[in-house]
Symmetry: none
Subunit: 221 residues, 4 copies
DNA sequence: ACTTAAGCGAGACGGTACGTCACGTCTTGTT
DNA sequence: AACAAGACGTGACGTACCGTCTCGCTTAAGT
């Protein structure tokens, strides 16, 4: 984003923005190229890590010219956001019958994603880049963080539907609680896996979830 | 001898290793240079961020030759570890009279560190680099993570001394619990500040701490 | 492709190899850059000498990136060969009516070239480099030495045409004689100017040529 | 020479200047170090060539500190002059009975020196350096060129003693002739061996000498 | 014996140039 | 107008030597 170039269309982010309704006059963009680039990006991330990832390398591996790549993504960060985001699109939240079970499932699913080499190397690097680039941080939140947060919200909805939680909770307060819980889940798993370097086992998940569900005053009936 | 060889060279990291007892034979390394480099690194981090930090720039700002810099630190990552680590050396853990107060103080102190621009930009980047470099990860743990973890351990000792916790707790189990709690504190604060981008207020700290101190089965008497 | 490989790469030296018949696929190399580089090289040689000549300096003076320079010439030596070679391209050999006059003209022309500051500083340095690099030595011979040798051969042809020399001379023997004479002319002038540091005057040329043309057994009729 | 430093004694060139009569007050310079340095220089020249020769490398190979080296020689060039000069000290000129035989012996001896790898790589490089440094050129002439030139002068004296040449030759004219002949011999052999890259065989020497001794007007009786 | 002064090894120091890499843009001809 | 190819200016990289400078030690000569 923040194109310093004189291009008209401020990088329309094609993978998200589908095909433009008004077909341009010239040759349309290749859809297969998009996919090849994203695949190549994930592969290269897994093999070489964030630091070893190169725009030129991705282009070469995708069988695409560098110009084609820059026509779609303005920088390595944005490209990787999209490449990683697709992994987080598949998150689901089946109702497993209890809040504890639901949260354990979410934690397990998130931990699973964080053991992929491409995710390990990319996620923290993106967060780091985002700490100085609000535009990028917004994009990361939209494409990567939000899909996870939705799971927690679904979990709460399910719990309320099951009668485990008070359905008449003040929405603002509930949002704050969800924020705390989400930061806690995501941050803790990331720190456990990527900083402390300890594995996330089923036992750990159970104990961590139990810690979470302790008092939660106002959330539990 | 053989300066052209490609030995791992292990970079003994003199700034950390005190003064060697056996005085080296040649001209000793300049202690002022060490300090100037670390200071310049912190300043440059705050101004330019991790991505904008350049070895050449640091050298120039410190009034030092690039070779002098590389003689001490093998890479930007190791240099930044030491530069940031000094900020974490000053952590203390005064006994504030209750476990809740102690934990709140730790969280507040950590959040405070994470609002420094140099810490914000450097910490996640270091963690990201470390995800592919075990050597670096070990170093980060020793110099940055461990000093924080010690605080949590002190907090537990204080709580036991005050009688808030069972002093006869099985050490292995206690260590695991400490691990969980530490990952939770550190990870959550990082995620809150750097990923979610929300501020860490006194109110948030209180609520988060309360969440933490809920059941803690076996820890609380 | 594969710019990271360490192939000999043979550096096709486009400036010498005319325009390739098969037009390359990408953006063609800038012809003006070639000329600017060679000009800058000659100027820098004259000002700073071989030892003071720097690839970075040449690039800057030519208004060109260092990479552009290295894309064409693999080393300072090869670059200087081409830069100096252009000076030797202009050599001619007008028929002055007698062998003595012709040789005097050749000697004078060569001495004239050797008084240019860029030639003085570059020629011996190239020869010195070539003494350990057969590849470079071959290149020097092709681009610098051979054009001079041709003059001597033309002189012989002229002499034969004028009847000063036996036209039925055994070619092999004649080649050897030419080799001797050429080494003598070139080596002596170089040594006189660059080692002994004495000037090459018209009188000196006359006496040296007379020495050369003494017996020439079998060559002169 | 040409010391840019603030040392008092303008590099007294110890190997040539023997032990100073007035012994200094401090520790005297090590004579073995001098020899070790010169030997190391010659060896390194033969192995690595002029371009690969490094002051640090020589010091290391000689088992000597860099400071010791710089205390004696101000630069690589001066050091190599002395290292190479010792090879030219051994030149002799036995009277072989005729001018032709004497010259052939000189040519053969010089060609022999020029086939040593250290000489090949060093000689032209020194001449090249000297082309921009009159101080160095003078030194080269004194230590390397002059000893060779003396041979030619001895040859002339022998020839005069044998009656092959007019003993009453005008000294000034004779000096000029000697200059021409010397430049011719040295330059031609150098060019033959180092530029043309052709061997100097006994046959070539005979033909070249014959060419030289053609008319020599005024020299031969 | 003791002082003095220089030589000596080791190696850190501020520099400069190196040759390479990736960047993001541009100019080709082709689709 | 998108595309593959690849040249282009830019700037950082990490290394190699440069010649100088501190160190602590050694080696004599002159007290």
């Amino acid at each position: 984003m923040a194109p310093t170039t004189r291009q008209p269309a401020e990088h329309p982010d094609p993978p998200a923005g589908k095909t433009p309704l008004v077909r341009g006059k010239g040759r349309p963009r290749s859809a297969t190229a998009d996919q090849a680039i994203l695949d190549a990006t994930r592969e290269a991330l897994a093999e070489l890590g964030w630091g070893g990832l190169t725009m030129g390398h991705v282009a070469q591996r995708a069988g695409v010219a560098k110009t084609t790549l820059y026509r779609r993504w303005p920088s390595k960060s944005e490209l990787v956001v999209d490449a990683i985001a697709s992994l987080f699109d598949q998150l689901e939240c089946a109702d497993r019958g209890s809040l504890q079970a639901d949260i354990e499932a979410v934690v397990a699913r998130f931990a699973e994603l964080l053991t992929l080499p491409e995710t390990q190397t990319a996620l923290l690097a993106l967060f780091a880049e985002g700490s100085r680039d609000p535009q990028l941080r917004r994009r990361i939140r939209e494409r990567i963080v939000q899909p996870q947060k939705v799971l927690v919200e679904h979990g709460r909805a399910n719990a309320q539907a099951r009668g485990e939680m008070d359905p008449d909770l003040d929405p603002a307060t509930a949002d704050e609680e969800i924020g705390i819980i989400f930061d806690t889940i995501a941050g803790t798993v990331e720190h456990r896996l990527l900083v402390s370097g300890e594995p996330v086992t089923a036992d750990w998940i159970r104990r961590f979830t139990t810690l979470l569900l302790g008092p939660l005053p106002g959330l539990l009936r």
